[in-house]
Amino acid sequence: MSRVVRVAAGQGFWGDWLEAPVRQVQGGPIDYLMMDYLAEVTMSILQKQRSRDPAAGYARDFVPAMERILADVAAKGIRVTSNAGGVNPRGCADAVLDVARRLGLGGKIRVGLVTGDDILDRLDELLAAGHELRDLDTGRPLSDIRDRVRSANAYLGMAPVVEALRGGANIVITGRVTDTGLTLGPLVHELGWRQDDWDRIAAGTVAGHIIECGAQSSGGNLLKDWRKVRGLERVGFPIVEAAEDGSFVVTKHPGTGGVVNLASVTEQLVYEMGDPRSYITPDGIADFTTISLRPAGKDRVRVSGIRGAPRTGMLKVSIAYFYGYKAVGTLVYAWPDACAKAREADRVLRARLADLGLEFEQILTEFVGADATHGRLAGPPDPDAPEVQLRIGVRAREKAPVERFTRELAPLVLTGPPSVTGFAGGRPQVEEIVAYWPALVDRRQIEPRVRVEILTA
């Protein structure tokens, strides 16, 4: 049998199942553990944390997770790739090295630290040089919101991950490296792929996409035949076994719950998909219409035939900026005529907000149990529904109207329609909205400043 490299998913987002990385390391042989923590808005949350505490700004869950697996990782020769570094990869690396020393693994852990994605301090320089960083969705130039920017990071690809692995790192910690780059990097390194072998780069990218959301490709959130999915309480996270030619098998450890089949892999493939012929990453472009799937035994799906195209000259930039404020509050109305009562409460509340002269960018009402997820497609509400939750949210650029809204919900309990309960949580919290601004930048502005360091405990 020709050589395969096994990359296991340990986390699909920040907040994913804490047991998963431990089970992946202990449940069977793997070569790499891929831990993806960063979603579009995560960077701004981390930036906020770092502004309060210079030592913060990374996905803190990563450190206790590493503490639980580091001895196994060292003993078994498993290597870890993670973008847990967020906006402070150096702080994250230091924390992991501290753990390694504490566990007496000082000589065995080499951290590869990737920096250079953070361009918050370079925005004015880039704008002055004519890089407009226009919003990819709206076309507006960044100058419109420049003074409200909270974080700015370029999406790096697999190249610095490969460099760190070549340098001997067994734990690679990055900032905003793409989710797929954390899987593709190990494959390029281990299988000796050229970084301009576009079909293999596309194949490794698809492998990364399949496992980047953790168990979402191994039975979690699987709609087809969901009643037949067994053992989700001990769900096995996905593993790719990749071969030199770019084909790979998606599987999971034996004895774990969930399922890996054509349906589970296909549902993940279409997740967050745009134009399937053009899945663009910093490393290349994958054509999802070339993907061939076939069953390859119990909980095994073989993936092959993937074609790619050369990478573009641009990198995506993730910018987070202050947008305004919002608050969402709820009340529960009981049978009979639960939905009609909730509707009347909504009318009363809106009329009071209008009488107060409060201005909102948006007031959104949903009736949970009647129309919250499907809108008018859900049809007329059931007059016999046992209860309906009134869920009303407001959004404004200023804080004051949102603050006042949060005071208007509780009074409805005694001044509105009857049979209302469920206000135990107190008044709604005013939340600051930090919004996402996707843009493109010339990769030549970024890549020369990317640094890879190897740190030892």
Partner: protein
């Protein structure tokens, strides 16, 4: 050929996600031989009509290799991401909203895939 209406839930499964204020729905044929029927009948026009008032524009992409169609539903998420006030701010269950849609299918297909209503005893 005789035809009748059939809800997509009996013919396909689906998953949805988001990119900013756009939701995507991947609609996947439950059996490979249903894909041509879906490709023919689940048109941009039908999906736009299904979601009228809820989305501004619909795009469709074909993935015959996966037996799937991918739909982009623009302006579906009240601003999306952190801006949105919706319960489903990230479009996670737009997939099931599409599965409510009915398309005309040959009676033989409806009989094969749609469960029979329970008979009163």
């Amino acid at each position: 050929m005789r035809s009748e209406k059939c809800q997509l839930r009996w013919l396909a499964h689906a998953r949805s996600g988001d990119k900013g204020n756009t939701a995507n729905v991947g609609l996947i044929a439950l059996e490979p031989d249903l894909y041509p029927l879906l490709a023919r009948m689940v048109t941009v026009a039908r999906v736009a009509r299904h979601f009228r008032g809820m989305v501004s524009r619909v795009e469709r992409f074909e993935l015959p290799n996966l037996g799937a169609l991918n739909f982009l539903l623009h302006d579906a998420l009240d601003g999306g991401g952190t801006i949105s006030l919706k319960t489903d701010a990230q479009g996670k269950v737009y997939s099931t909203a599409l599965l409510r849609m009915e398309i005309p299918v040959p009676t033989a297909v409806a009989r094969r895939f749609r469960p029979r209503p329970a008979r009163p005893r």
